[in-house]
Amino acid sequence: MTAKKVRVGFFDFTGCEGCQLAKVSMENELPQILEHIEIVNFREAMSEKSWDMDVAFIEGSITTPACVERINRIRQAAPILVTLGACSTIGGINAIRVGRDLDEIRQEVYGDKRYLFPSLPVMPVSAVVKVDASIYGCPPNPKDVARFLTQFLAGKIPQAPKYPVCIECKLQGNACLLVQGIPCMGVVTRAGCGAWCPSKGQFCYGCRGLIPDANLDALRISFEECGLSQQEIDNKLHLFSGRELEKLS
């Protein structure tokens, strides 16, 4: 196709860079993708930069005043803004500390030099600026990223599933872990990963965040039956979804 290439910028905030890596790890797909998009801003991979873009992909959560400034600037420059990965979409693992006193944590880690490192409560990008679409997951599934890109390039703003991981787990034919007493979060976690973890025998730990109307009361009962303490259940829920739980309460 000779259609004009879509100009794309990638921007990273506080995160582990796994999302960056997820992109460059699509070795088989990259050359084809680059026929349709032109990457105009990608600090990790290139030295030139441009702010003239059609869509900005944001990785990482917002954790400092400087982040807030920068994300506002990007929002102004980008007609479409997409969050990529758990950190930018739902707050991610950084939001573990939600509910704990920030100053205390800073003290714990930096001691009396904590004033050197200003920090805000961890926020997903949507808490600061409008987000047009999101790619969930920690890390995002390359297949999901490819699906997103093709749909996006075909002119649609792709939506993530609103149903839980179990649907995909059953499409794979897996026997349910939760039924076997293994505390799997798949029942309340947004699908789209293809039941990555349960298909490998590992419980889902909820990296894609909660589905709307997640039945958390039932989850607590099931997890208690798996032998988890209340503290462990809270921990599990707060691993990735701290921010989302806060929204619920």
């Binding site: 093709t150 749909q151 075909a154 002119g155 649609k156 703003i157």
Partner: protein, 275 residues
């Protein structure tokens, strides 16, 4: 031996002959298929596909006797409808169908027809209105009630003017909320029903609108003493296949795509999920 499957899902190419932006969100597409006309009954729908994006069920809005082409009116509501809006004359979309049970225009011969359309609900009704007007002598009175949220959302403005001009059509309209230059009725569509002077024994009401509208319209019609079997409704549901298999459009034991979308009210009054 290798056999093809799912040929029922294969769309035919429909060429866009003309488009018209009707409101900010609704656009009309006049379509042409190679072996036209489509051969639809009023009230039936087609599955429109934009390859690579998806499919959406859309009612055929024009009457079957209006030449080889047919018309769809599409509201921008999501991916597929959005993609359709980006298409102009000369472009191609996929069409399969027509599907479903339409309005039983044959059976209604001789009857007075009361059309009640709320918002985009007028779109499927229009095919039946066309039919009635194209076979005008077969029917008694033709009364059309039309309501929209506000004046900006009024569809088919030119056609409405024509209906108003005709002395064999009675047309009444209202908007939920007016605007400074709106001179007509303000109020929900049910307010148009009580003043009507109907020949109760010989009237059939044909209703289509947003989910919330049905209950109130039917109540109003009942207080006019219309019987359950004098009311037809056309229902919308999530639909994926149009072939009575995917299950999305099911209301209790019925499949809207196959058993409907047009239902005789008496057939579904006890179907709990219907209205």
């Amino acid at each position: 031996m290798v056999v093809s499957i799912h040929s029922g899902y294969v769309p035919q190419q429909a060429k866009i002959v003309r488009t018209e932006q009707m409101t900010a969100a609704e656009k009309l597409f006049e379509l042409q298929i190679p072996d036209g006309p489509l051969g639809h009954e009023p009230g039936q729908f087609v599955e429109v596909s934009i390859l690579g994006v998806g499919e959406a069920p859309i009612s055929v809005s024009s009457g079957p006797n209006r030449g080889p082409n047919f018309e769809l009116i599409v509201r921008k509501a999501g991916s597929v409808t959005e993609a359709m809006h980006q298409l102009g004359a000369g472009a191609v979309m996929g069409i399969r169908g027509p599907y479903g049970h339409g309005f039983p225009m044959e059976r209604l011969k001789g009857s007075d027809l009361l059309f009640i359309g709320g918002g985009i609900g007028l779109v499927p009704l229009r095919s039946a209105i066309h039919y009635a007007l194209d076979h005008r002598s077969d029917y008694g009175r033709v009364v059309i009630l039309y309501g929209t949220k506000n004046p900006n959302e009024i569809l088919f403005r030119r056609e409405i003017e024509e209906w108003k001009q005709r002395d064999d059509v009675e047309f009444f309209m209202t908007v939920d909320r007016g605007s400074p230059d709106w001179k007509g009725n303000v109020g929900v569509i049910t307010t148009l029903i009580p003043p009507l002077d109907l020949n109760i024994t010989n009237t059939t009401a044909i209703v289509c609108g947003p989910p919330i509208m049905y209950k109130f319209v039917i109540m109003a019609l009942r207080s006019k003493r219309l019987e359950h079997d004098q009311i037809y409704v056309s229902l919308e549901r999530h639909m994926k296949c149009g072939l009575g298999k995917c299950g999305h459009c099911q209301i209790n034991h019925l499949y809207v795509c196959q058993d409907g979308p047009v239902f005789l009210y008496s057939d579904i009054q006890d179907v709990k999920e219907a209205l």
